[in-house]
Symmetry: C2
Amino acid sequence: MTARPLEFHPVSGLPEIRAGDDLAALVAEAVRTSALDLADAVVVVCQKVVSKAEGRSVRLADVEPSSEALRIAHEDDKDARQVELVLRESRRVVRHSRGILICETHHGFVCANAGVDLSNTAGPDEAVLLPLDPDASAARLRAGLREQLGLEVAVVVSDTFGRPWREGLVDVALGSAGISPLDDQRGRRDRQGRELVVTNMATVDQLAAAAGLLMDKGSGVPVVVVRGWSPAGDGRVRDLVRHPDEDLFR
Amino acid sequence: MTARPLEFHPVSGLPEIRAGDDLAALVAEAVRTSALDLADAVVVVCQKVVSKAEGRSVRLADVEPSSEALRIAHEDDKDARQVELVLRESRRVVRHSRGILICETHHGFVCANAGVDLSNTAGPDEAVLLPLDPDASAARLRAGLREQLGLEVAVVVSDTFGRPWREGLVDVALGSAGISPLDDQRGRRDRQGRELVVTNMATVDQLAAAAGLLMDKGSGVPVVVVRGWSPAGDGRVRDLVRHPDEDLFR
């Protein structure tokens, strides 16, 4: 017996995004071409195109590395200008070794290189940084899509992160709008009537993870439309970042 | 423009699973009823039903707590018999506080209560443990489904874990068969021809995460069939557990 499936539709056909582009208009155009029904849809947009549209690109030639950046770059055999950008984007360096810097960004995300990315950028000399406020980016995209398409969708801005203990990367949500990042099942009961104590699902991360399967870096799919998941509530991914004092996994 | 969507079909209608049940036959029966095309499918099965079929249930009344279990139970206001089971399932306790024990299981998974679960069990006195070897469980299910259905599917055994730094739980893979846990994009090139250095996606975790959206603990959906993802390669989730020396996130 099956109920309605959950569908993830890859959306391609967006042009190379440049600073100042109206990303909502471009996404709306690509989605319109796809003839997808967007009622109750969640639109997952990869961070890279959001950052590019928001002008979060930096030419390495314009970056003056600090002495700390030079030191780390020397130890890890990295480009000191890239390290400088990583340090500027970081609240703290968690660890660095063998060319990999694990950082806590100013948003509170823990990821490699503080999200500073040199792949799929406009040129060999260009780095793309994370959006300054990915929840605000999601909210702007949502408002733009409402204006362009005349309907409400939820928006998730996603990126690809590593994690402790397990090899491999997974996609997670950096920002959200029109959907609650957590589906709080606490207080509900299991099928035997016992209270579900700690079941508090990170819905936006689960949606981002599946969308990421279609956003293979070589595929040119920066947008995925999720159908069959009725987004409930509203909230910010920022509130999903756990306070260090609450974190028993540290 | 869109390509083929990725579809996650919830499969319900399984009976309450008991020790010794032929889970592959029951899943095959439920899937047959759904009339889903299973060519190239990935079948995600939640750990709970796998463990129950494998007899990994324990009656709390039969558990004699050790002095360490009594001490932790006293400090954290927990059932000492449950703590005893958690300790038996653990290689080490990462931290414990406020009723939550974060443990590294004998498999190398880091999760709350070493996966010992008291919800959706057969009775209030019953705890369900993780499968002893979830990769082997997945391989057996795969062989059973091949026999029952006459075709090859990939199988992922999933569970719901917390994680550091972020609130909320996500589903991850505990075991796999007929699919490579990692989609190694290293060595491939981005759209500008630059080598993708660290893009090594944990495909099975991304699939488990999305399947988890449909496996809400109250929903009675223990199986999700993924269509539109062609499983490639083969491998074990065990190999996805990162060696501590390689883990810059620790």
